[in-house]
Symmetry: C2
Subunit: 287 residues, 2 copies
């Protein structure tokens, strides 16, 4: 096996392979309340769309670390979008990708991930915006005073980004209050690394561990994707119900069926779970 | 997207990506009576082992068409084996791989696949035998007079293969009577192409189509993996029960639960289904 990456603990796979496998294991773990998983589909977003999304993103992951992060992200999202489900793994790729760069640099840690984030450029920011042209991502209206940075304009934001000299790290910092993935980017991925350690310390099949890690994440913070697609009140309710399920007061499988029926999809928590799986795979969790 | 291959109908993916996606869709389709699928695990062979197997095989598929088929097969099997479930997709890779070479040659048809088979060499046969060193594959005792070609000796068969000048096509021809994948190799993959057309003509989610194609294959011929791991009588019974399920006389889901409980795993039929999915993907079935 070539190019396994300098960080490879006991993973027999390359960084790109572990990135793809993390995406596949994430969607497999069940119950992951409200999300597509091995036992749950949404009406127009099905399990196989995530399989095709992961396979589509794969060539871009192989461009790590030579290609710039923004270009790699855009290509991964474009590849992901070759399926009929729409946005399957935009946030998951955004979570895993800087970790893949950190892994290649031999420092898959909060400090290593922060170094990757801090090294991002204005070009990376431009490519990040361009990625929104490839797929319909659920986003809120931008915060006050940031209308000219609305991600929904896609590549048309290039001029503003260049004029203001904003790197991808700068863009993420501006969204950290309202986006759980951006918050991880800014803070050295604390929840991702914590969930990875939970997966490593856990027992049993890896998808089961991922489902438990997901529930733990959902029980402790508001899912910002639920805030965006529903509202804050719904996200608070989901967190409390997840807490009850995590603590054994209610059945996680029942909660999963309920949230799917309610159309509530804690997508940000799934994104962080994908990141945690990637870290756990690099640190040697055996599938 | 580069290197999509000259045959690409409406597939937006490379040949290697479609090969991996075919393996993933195959294990996802449910119910596939007796096999691991999205809703069924065996005790020591679980869904996630197939995910890791497909991801592990991926780099080898990218060596098509430059590398010789035998070496590519051996590397795919070695990569597949980096998981704890044992043999997940040996037969599926053996089915898909010549079709991947045919796709790259621009002729993904029975004639194109036969041309690939006929072009195999003694070196390909040696690497095929070496692949058995990587993973524990269920095989019967060799037919009378073929003890010196027992695949269980792995790479130790090299001398005999070279002395007798046997190509991989020759090896397959000697097993065609007792192995459903070898029979496809010899005859231009008739059942694979027929099942691919059934998938293309069918409606609904692709994994559901794959499950129906699987049942159709299982209902029409004896599964040689069931013959090897159980006996001919069991395989005849499975075929008849599959026929009843296909014809709506019994419930395919119930049959699936029964066969899993009985430890009967029609693996050869799953291998052919993977091949059919690969052909259907190249011919433009949309996921």
């Amino acid at each position: 096996m070539t190019n396994r990456g300098p960080d490879a603990g006991s993973s027999p796979r390359t960084v790109a392979q572990d990135a793809v496998l993390a995406l596949l294991l994430e969607v497999t773990g069940t119950p992951k309340p409200g999300n597509v998983d091995r036992h749950h589909d949404h009406d127009d977003l099905r399990f196989e769309h995530f399989l095709a999304g992961a396979v589509g993103a794969e060539p871009a992951f192989r461009d790590v670390p030579e290609a710039p992060l923004g270009a790699t992200f855009r290509r991964a999202v474009e590849g992901m979008s070759y399926q009929q489900g729409g946005n399957t793994q935009f946030g998951a790729i955004l979570t895993v990708l800087p970790l893949a760069y950190a892994a290649h640099a031999g420092d898959l840690s909060p400090a290593g991930a922060s170094a990757v984030v801090e090294a991002t450029t204005v070009d990376d920011a431009v490519d990040f915006y361009r990625a929104f042209d490839a797929v319909d991502v659920a986003v809120d209206d931008p915060p006050e005073g940031m209308a000219d940075l609305d991600v929904r304009q896609g590549g048309d934001a290039e001029q503003v980004l260049r004029e203001r000299g904003l790197t991808l790290a700068d863009v993420m910092a501006r969204s950290a209050d309202v986006d759980g993935v951006a918050a991880e980017w800014v803070d050295g991925f604390p929840r991702v690394f914590e969930a990875a350690e939970a997966i490593l310390a856990d027992d049993g099949p890896v998808p089961d561990r991922a489902a438990r890690a997901f529930l733990g994440l959902l029980a402790t913070e508001l899912d910002t994707f639920v805030v965006k697609t529903h509202d804050r009140e719904t996200a608070v309710s989901v967190r409390e119900r997840a807490r009850a399920a995590r603590d054994g007061e209610t059945d996680p499988v029942a909660l999963s069926d309920e949230l799917v029926a309610e159309g509530v999809n804690p997508g940000t928590t799934a994104d962080l779970t994908a990141g945690a799986l990637f870290v756990a795979l690099r640190r040697g969790v055996a599938v």
